[in-house]
Structure formats: C-alpha cells, structure tokens
Amino acid sequence: MSFLPPLLEPILYLAAFGAGLSVLIGTVEFRGKTVSYASFIAPALLAINMMYNSFFENTYGSFVRMYYQKTFDAMLATPLSLEEVIAGEMAWGATKSLIATVLMQAVVSLFGLIQYPEGLLILPLSLLGGIAFASLGMVFTAEMSHIEMFNLPIFLLISPMFLFGGTFFPLEALPPWAAKIAWAFPLTHLVELTRWCALGSLDAGLIWNFLYLVAFSCLFFPLAIWRMKRRLIK
C-alpha cells in the first residue's frame, strides 16, 4: 500500500505539469541546454520522492515505533545496542527511498524521460539521498516531544525545498540571494545529480553535489544517533 503513491504520483504530476504546463512553457532552457518541460521536472519528481520516503519514514514512522509502539524499548532487551537500532531505522528509511525510486523510475521511463545507461546511476543515488534525509528526519524525531510537531520542519524545511530546490523551475530564475539559500538545501543537490543522470550528460562538476550529500550524511547520521541516545537512554 505504501508504495502505491510512487507509482501513481508521477503520472498525476506529469499529467498536470508535463501536459498542462508544457503548453504554456514548452521547453526549458538552462545551462545552455534546451529540454522539454516534462524531462526537466521528471528527475525532480524522483528526487522529491526519495526525500519524502526517507524523511517521512524516519519522522512519523520512527516516532510511532519509538513513542507509541515501544518497539525500541523491546529491542533494547535483546543483544542489540541503541546505536544499532537507530542505524537500522535509518538504513530502512534509505531502503524505502530505493524501493520507491525503482517503482517511480519504471513509470517515468515508460514516458521516455530517462536516458540510459546513465539513468541507472539514479538507483544508488537514491540510497545516498535516502540516508541524507533519513538522518535529517531522525534528528527531528529525537528532538520532538509530540508527533504534531513534525508540521514545523515540514512547513519550514521540506516544503520550501520542494518548491525552490531547483525542482519546477531552474535556480537561475531566482534572485541571486535566494539561489544562494537554495544551494544550502540538500534537495537542491539531489535534484541536480538526479537531473543530469536522467538527461544522460554527466560532468566533473557534479562531484561537488555528490560530496555535499556525503558530507551532509556524515554529519547528520551520527548526530541522529547521538541525539537519540540522549533521548532514550535514561
């Protein structure tokens, strides 16, 4: 059931934006390339899908397991450490991102919007993006006292990234100061990497986007474990 959205969502988005807006927009010109609007947003939809699946799994999903179902308490009576339990939660968040990406990419590919073989790189990329957003979500889970408080990071962080992370229009359309802020978002880098893999044109500059996500994960993954230990070990 939880993997039905990645199958249906791209069809809805592509119908609304691809077919609807394409009439108005036609093609997008950016970084010296001209691409159809549908192939511009399709990779962004994939990247957003990675973010949603891992972030929501390790916020709402993990919070329910931790707070309501007491699953972690039960696991901590077995030879597992809290570090292992939390790392496992985030690994599952990243795995969910991969599964959702496989499903959505299959649908999007039917429309001929992904170039292969470069497009195959999107699969390992979904694990990296998944770990980044899983870790971010887990940090919030460690800090939130109530499940409704997740509205805050969603409203202040996830939604702005969804709208302004180079997803539905090129960052060049933003005023320079706003573009600078957008480059601080992890989603912007994930969209960038996914887009160039989908368009089938890779260049050396992408290494910086990749390194950003690696650094982001290396920071937030241990941070999540540390904050969860502070919360749960009493």
């Binding site: 308490d73 039960a74 009576a77 077995t78 030879p79 009493k234």
Partner: protein
C-alpha cells in the same frame, strides 16, 4: 536446598538518579540460581528503575551489578543474550501477526529463521495461543497480549527471566493463567525476578522477596519469614472500636495500628489477645485472620496514597 548455591544476580549498592531525582538510593540483593525473587514496593518505589539497570537498559549511577558473574556495564551484550525481559508496557508490534512477533524477535538474538519458527510454535503452545498464530496483535485480549509478551521473552531460552508487573491490569482468569505458566517455568529451573504490587502473586510465586520504598530496601526474606518477623501469626481487625478499647490496647503495649474507624492488632497468639481485651471489644465487627504479606507491606510502606 541441596543444590550448589550459585548467584545469578549480585547487586551491591545500586543507585539511580535522574538529575535531582533519586529513583534508587541504595539497593543490594542477590538472586540465586533457580530461585524466584520478588521486588515489591508501592508506585514510585524504584522497582522499574532497578529492573532496567538489571538488563542494561539504564546505566548505573552508582554501585556494582553482576549478572551470571559478568559486569553489566561491560558484558551487557552476552548477558542480554541469556536473559528474557517482560516489560511493563506492551511493546508488541501491531503490524505483525502473533507468530511473526516471535520470529522477528528471535532474529534479534541471531536465532536462525527455521529454528525461530520451531521455537515460536512451541512457545505459542506453551502459553495457549496456538489458535491465534495468524491473528493480528490488535485482535488479542489484554490477557492474550500479556501471554504473548511472556512467550516473546522466552524466545532465546533464557536462564533468567525478568518480569516487570507481569499481571497488572489482567482479570483473575488471565492472572491465574500467567501464574501457572510461571510456575511451570520455575519447575524447569529458570531463575525469575519479578516486580509486583499484588501480594497474593508474590506469596504464591516468590521464594524470596524484598520490599522497597523510596529507593531503599525495607526488608528481605522468604514470605513466611517476613510475615512472622514483622507482623506475627494472626491479625485481629476491630471495626468501629470503642475509645476504651484503644486506651486498653495502648496500656497493654499490644502491637497495633489505629486507623480511626478500624483497629488492627498484630499478634502471635489470638487467644491471649481475646483474654486481655475480652468484653472491651465492643459491638462493632471483629475479624480474626491469618497474617499475610499485605499486612507486612502496609506496615512497612505506610498507608498513604502514592501518586
């Protein structure tokens, strides 16, 4: 007891603080192999905090704790592999079926899946849930869930079973079911540590027990020793005692508690008490009964409500 005495748990001067709050001040005890040991105390006495230190969930704030002769701080992983824990709160996974709950839990102990399946079936039979193998946890009654948690805590064939209020909130039928299972486990030679505030449960199951309050040990011993030592053999309860009776009891120095509308006299010889008090007993109800663990508990921990 004939068999060689071997300590499963050795706890010395355990201490647990949460910021300024002292949950466990100073608790020491030993649990011997094959023994059922009870931790009794009112709410907030520090029972659960003590239990949580026992299985390495909470780090100690002070003292030393050895389980199976190993240090809990260092060897928690090998200790946890050999114990089963039945926590107070229901922590079953509602997304999984009854059988899957056991199988998944067995995997945390690195028990191979085929072995886990076999073990799950045996345990479901043991707790009388064979018929519910495919059921979702949410379809179980409170008593069934408790039995499933008990089955889950046995999945690694533990040598020591730790039970935190195993029957709280259960109806009498379910409670007796759980007691019967625990008695069967005792016969198999499993050591058990149990917290409870049901005195009947403690008298029935525990070989030895400890009564604690405010993070300290108040008394320790076998149920019968504790009753003899702190209360005596018999208890005389007098309803609506006349004032003359209260004065007389104080004069004679009889051990008693005056609850206002009710007077409780502890004694080793009811006959002597009757001879002494005779006609002063008045018109109110008068009940002579055997002393119980509950008398000991209330005498040691007081009668005020705990929040």
């Amino acid at each position: 007891m004939g068999r060689k005495e071997e300590a499963v748990v050795e706890a010395f001067h355990l201490r647990k603080t949460f910021g300024d709050l002292v949950a466990v001040e100073d608790v020491s005890f030993c649990v011997m192999k094959g023994e059922c040991f009870g931790l009794l105390g009112p709410n907030g006495a520090g029972k659960t905090s003590t239990i949580r230190m026992l299985y390495g969930f909470s780090p100690l704030s002070g003292g030393t704790l050895k389980v199976f002769g190993m240090d809990i701080e260092k060897d928690w992983r090998s200790i946890r592999a050999r114990i089963g824990v039945c926590q107070q709160e229901n922590s079953l996974d509602p997304d999984l079926s009854v059988e899957e709950n056991l199988q998944v839990f067995a995997r945390y102990f690195d028990i191979p899946l085929s072995e886990a399946k076999k073990r799950a079936r045996e345990l479901l039979r043991f707790v009388g849930l064979d018929g519910k193998r495919e059921a979702k946890v949410s379809q179980l009654s409170g008593g069934m869930m408790r039995r499933l948690v008990l089955a889950r805590s046995l999945v690694n064939s533990p040598e020591l079973l730790i039970l935190d209020e195993p029957t709280t909130g259960l109806d009498p039928q379910s409670r007796h079911q759980v007691w019967e299972r625990l008695e069967a486990l005792k016969l198999q030679g499993i050591s058990i540590i149990l917290t409870t505030h049901y005195m009947e449960e403690a008298s029935r199951l525990c070989d030895r027990l400890l009564i604690m309050d405010h993070g300290r040990v108040l008394a320790e011993g076998t149920p019968s020793d504790l009753i003899r030592e702190h209360v005596g053999k018999e208890v005389l309860e007098v309803g609506n005692p006349p004032d003359g009776l209260k004065v007389l009891i104080r004069e004679k120095g009889l051990e008693h508690e005056d609850l206002g509308h009710r007077l409780i006299v502890y004694t080793d010889s009811a006959q002597k008490v009757f001879e002494t008090l005779g006609k002063h007993l008045g018109e109110g109800s008068c009940l002579l009964r055997m002393a119980t663990l509950e008398d000991v508990f209330l005498k040691l921990t007081g009668r005020e409500l705990r929040e």
